[in-house]
Symmetry: C2
Subunit: 212 residues, 2 copies
């Protein structure tokens, strides 16, 4: 089983690594990080480089596709070679997935038309622009399309997918292996629970979250 994780400039690291750290532990999984070129891609903060080991043409039939998001998503919205590759490999995938604003890229390729999907809470409404139906859930399954909310949600999506692919027992082994027993020191992970002034600050200016 091949799992392809897409990289592009100014991606958000945990968007890619949450699914990686869970899906890569499926028995027999072969994960490949793939980009329009091989070599390191820098994340949106500019201080981390993650290596694409294959270019698009080398990965033609992944069983699972993972599209991460991040500020660089904005430069991946035009139709072209990347969208053509996504549509081509999607024809053969068992699961086509995204984390964070990666769902906007998937939606822009046309694949989420008429489907329920999610994204980072700040980008959720944009899904409708591309004919998807935004939902506020953290992980959304609609047929073989699986979308996750912002950044850290890829861990939850990954575990859910391990369960679908390899069974509950294996998924629980992975959860225990990565000791995923979350204990956030604050209760601010969603606009539902965050103090209103925190939500307002992020809505007002991304410097509260991105690099100053």
């Amino acid at each position: 089983m091949q799992i392809a994780i897409l990289l592009f400039d100014r991606f958000t690291t945990l968007d890619a690594v949450g699914p990686y750290e869970t899906l890569a532990r499926i028995p027999g999984a072969e994960v490949v990080l793939v980009g329009e070129r091989t070599g390191p891609y820098r994340n949106e903060l500019g201080t981390l480089g993650l290596v694409a080991d294959a270019e698009l043409s080398e990965v033609s039939a992944p069983d699972i596709l993972v599209v991460p998001g991040g500020p660089g998503q904005n430069e991946q919205m035009e139709d072209g070679p990347l969208h053509e590759w996504i549509r081509a490999v999607d024809a053969g995938t068992t699961w086509t997935t995204s984390v964070c604003t990666g769902s906007l890229i998937l939606a822009a390729t046309g694949l989420l038309k008429g489907r329920r999907a999610t994204s980072h809470w700040m980008a959720l409404d944009l899904l409708a622009t591309y004919g998807a139906e935004p939902t506020g859930e953290r992980v959304v399954f609609d047929g073989k399309y699986v979308t996750a909310a912002g950044i850290s949600s890829g861990i939850d999506m990954g575990l859910a997918l391990v369960g679908r692919v390899a069974g509950d027992f294996r998924a629980q082994c992975v959860q225990l292996g990565i000791e995923y027993d979350p204990q956030p020191p604050y209760n601010a992970g969603s606009p539902r629970t965050a103090p209103p002034e925190v939500t307002a600050a992020l809505r007002e200016h991304s410097r509260f979250f991105l690099k100053d």
Copy 2:
């Protein structure tokens, strides 16, 4: 404020990326991934490369040090240039931290002697070998030494540290920014909660968690 995240061969990716994704969002933070050599380090599964942008000699005075773990920790336990560097930079840090079995490396340098500390649940008892006092907590503060449990716990540690360094408001902004509203699909993230057969499987053979 400089934050140094150490890389070595066969590290576990999320050990490094959990703290990265939180600490890198501290205002004015400059994160540097550092290793004994520059260039990509492969993780323990062999399918992911993360780039060290600096070598040890180029990073002499970080404010925060993060030591990740992973199976490659076993090869970093002998005293030598890496341990000397850790001890040297520790003399100037505000916070010296680890995730997962990174605490065993810190402990082997002597820095955790007599201190409360944690590690991956499967490695916890080993801390005592190096004079540290193992605790079952997810994130342990003892003076300026902060250790986190297995793999995913670095997110919780990172958020707690953002709070100490930049205040609760900023930490809440980071939590909301990374949409850290965890909803694991199983309740198996700790030996306290996992089905006994899951815990037994991991204790019996790491293939239930690592590459087959």
